[in-house]
């Protein structure tokens, strides 16, 4: 085999998969077409805008730099690839709203769920729970009677500072992110930003900017919006009447 033929064969054997699974899909997915609600399926007639509020880009960078993706995933797979749709609170909620009407927001991940991020943190392992809907779960935790935090941010600060603080989570192997907080002595009335329930006598614990960004990012991860019929993969989805 001549060198020229060898090089050509190498170029083809590598170049074809390179084009087929990297270059072409990448360029096709650069601009995902907008999805529309339709009158007959959804009962409304406008474009679907994925909504997500918070410091997404800052928080994603903190999430990445501290290796959260090693133990936490952000992917709800369809039922042929995994069964996390069935885990309570992971893929959305099946509950009753304030008026007592049953609501079911459970669905698998869509391409729009990572809006605002440049890299989808699919994750390496599930040593901890999936975080696709962690914002929604925390909102419900703080409504529980025995909640020691009154706002989702405070719940997260307590959790990030010491993941094993809650008696229910004594088994957690989540590393403490105490380095995202600063501890200082209380002067006068103390800082309004101090996290209630943290710090010793005469001390207060303040979240750094990194902790604020991370908390904002985590709280932004919710699966509670209505998605158009065409990308709602729920098995029991119904057309609007």
């Amino acid at each position: 085999m001549s060198f020229k033929a060898f090089t050509l064969a190498l170029m083809f054997s590598f170049g074809i998969p390179w084009l087929m699974i990297i270059v072409v899909p990448f360029s096709k997915m650069r601009h995902v077409e907008p999805i529309y609600f339709t009158e007959e399926a959804d009962g409304r007639d406008d474009v679907y805008v994925p909504r997500r509020a918070g410091r997404i880009a800052n928080g994603a960078a903190i999430y990445a730099a501290n290796g959260c993706y090693i133990c936490h995933t952000q992917l709800i797979r369809p039922s042929f690839a995994g069964s996390e749709l069935g885990r309570p609170g992971w893929a959305g909620f099946k509950e009753q709203d304030d008026a007592g009407i049953p609501v079911d927001t459970r669905r698998e991940t869509t391409p729009f769920d990572y809006v605002g991020e440049s890299f989808a943190q699919i994750g390496l392992m599930r040593n901890g729970p999936d975080l696709s809907n962690v914002g929604g779960r925390i909102e419900r935790y703080v409504k529980e009677d025995d909640a020691d935090a009154k706002t989702p941010e405070n719940w997260l600060f307590l959790h990030l500072y010491d993941p094993r603080k809650k008696v229910k989570a004594y088994w957690s192997t989540c590393p403490s992110q105490a380095h995202l907080f600063t501890t200082r002595n209380v002067y006068g009335q103390g800082s309004p930003d101090a996290v209630p329930g943290l710090g010793g006598e005469g001390e207060e614990v303040l979240p750094t900017d990194q902790a604020l960004a991370l908390a904002s990012y985590l709280i932004s991860m919710k699966k509670d919006d209505a998605v158009p019929y065409s990308i709602n993969y729920r098995r029991d989805k119904k057309k609007a009447e």
């Binding site: 990448f26 650069r30 989540c174």
Partner: protein, 496 residues
Amino acid sequence: MPTDDIAFQKDSELRAKIDRSLRHPVMFFFASGATWLALSLLLGFISSAKAHSPTFLDGCGFLSYGRVYAAHLNLLVYGWGCQAAFGLVIWLMARLSRKECSAVGIILTAGHVWNFGVLVGFLGIIAGYGTGKPWMEFPVAVWPMLLLSYLFITVWSFVQFRCSEGGKIYVAQWYLVAALFWFPWIFLTAHLFVFVFNGHPVMAAAVNAWFKYALIFLFFTPVALGTAYYLVPKVTGRPIYSYALALFGFWALAVIGPWAGMQRLAGAPLPQFMPYLGAAATILILIPALAVGVNIIMTIRGHEDAVSASPSLRFALGGIVSFLTLGVLGLVLNTPGTLKLTQFSLTGYGYEILAIYGFFSMCAFGGIYFIVPRITRREWLSRRFISWHFWLTVYGVGTVVVCSIMGGLFQGQAQEAYGSAWMDAATRSYAYNIGTTIAWSFILFGSIFFLLHLLLMWARLGRRSQHPTLLKVDDHHEASPHGPEGDLDELQSAEA
């Protein structure tokens, strides 16, 4: 015959010249690689201990689990893996092409740049500036530096290959040339598509997942196989069992390898053919693994004493057995039934460690035990150091892999049982993590023997002897088991 004698003499002179020309860069890559390896293994031990005892070394940000784990794998890949590969490639290519190296200064400079890049990347990760893309966690400024120094390190090997006179092309050379050809393409593609081009976040994650497997199958695998295909015939003194099988194995890897990797995204919102093609390709890797495994093992057959005596052959065979295991595990872990269990469990880690440490590093150790005495003109000091290194590595890697794969499968089953409490799945891998921690400490211990031994050789404190350090001693030997001591050149001139 006198003409044969002259040819032989000329041949040894040429080989000695090649070894002499390359002694500094090759030793530099091996020694700095082994140092990063020891650090990476220490970080592996710490991160594994943190996985079951989260309060271990708690309290400072730079030792938090997420950063230590990332630093551990990146140092294993770029600090140790790539540098060991560079040392192997430049030496093997010079010997096989029968060309002296004329760009030693540039290679050494580029090697220092590479090490500086790895250092900056390492400090960046533990200081909290990691990018959070698996195996690409070094801060973004580092990758152009690595790519540029790569080009200056390896381009000379390519030139040597092209300029070699008329001789035949060896199987080892196909693998080395292919590795040199694939690495920049893969590295540049992955970093451009993830860091530079503005695309869909899921697609960036897919490119990242592909990058890991492409680096394993199209860089570490060919370098390791090239080394094995060089060492085995050389040490046993026999030609390769089947040339046709070698050719088949090579092209099977070249055709199958580039498709693998995206199965990490099975179920993610991207065209579903991509992850499942990746799974299928990883299953098919069994084909080149079988071709290479059969070929190497058949070449060694009948020379079992050589395996027990020669450190190089023993390590190389260990690497090839790991490659076969890797092929079989690829089949077992990527079927649609098992993929959902292995996708987000410890299993992936076990598979990567088997590929990088069990397979590539074992072959690289084999190559290092062969090359270093030739370029330093000194023999390895201690038989015991070598055999401890071997057994601690084999048992350690075996334990890490068994714990991660089994633990990962059980963990995956618990994850799939969505009716049970999450605590059940989260604590399922606990015992296996403890096993992994113990095994890392064994591997770390073995690699410290290796590092010390290598540094002593670098300082030219090796044995001055004509007899290579073999792992099996001939009991009938009267004085030293290694023959007469003394300077190699003096002994030779005394004989003549």
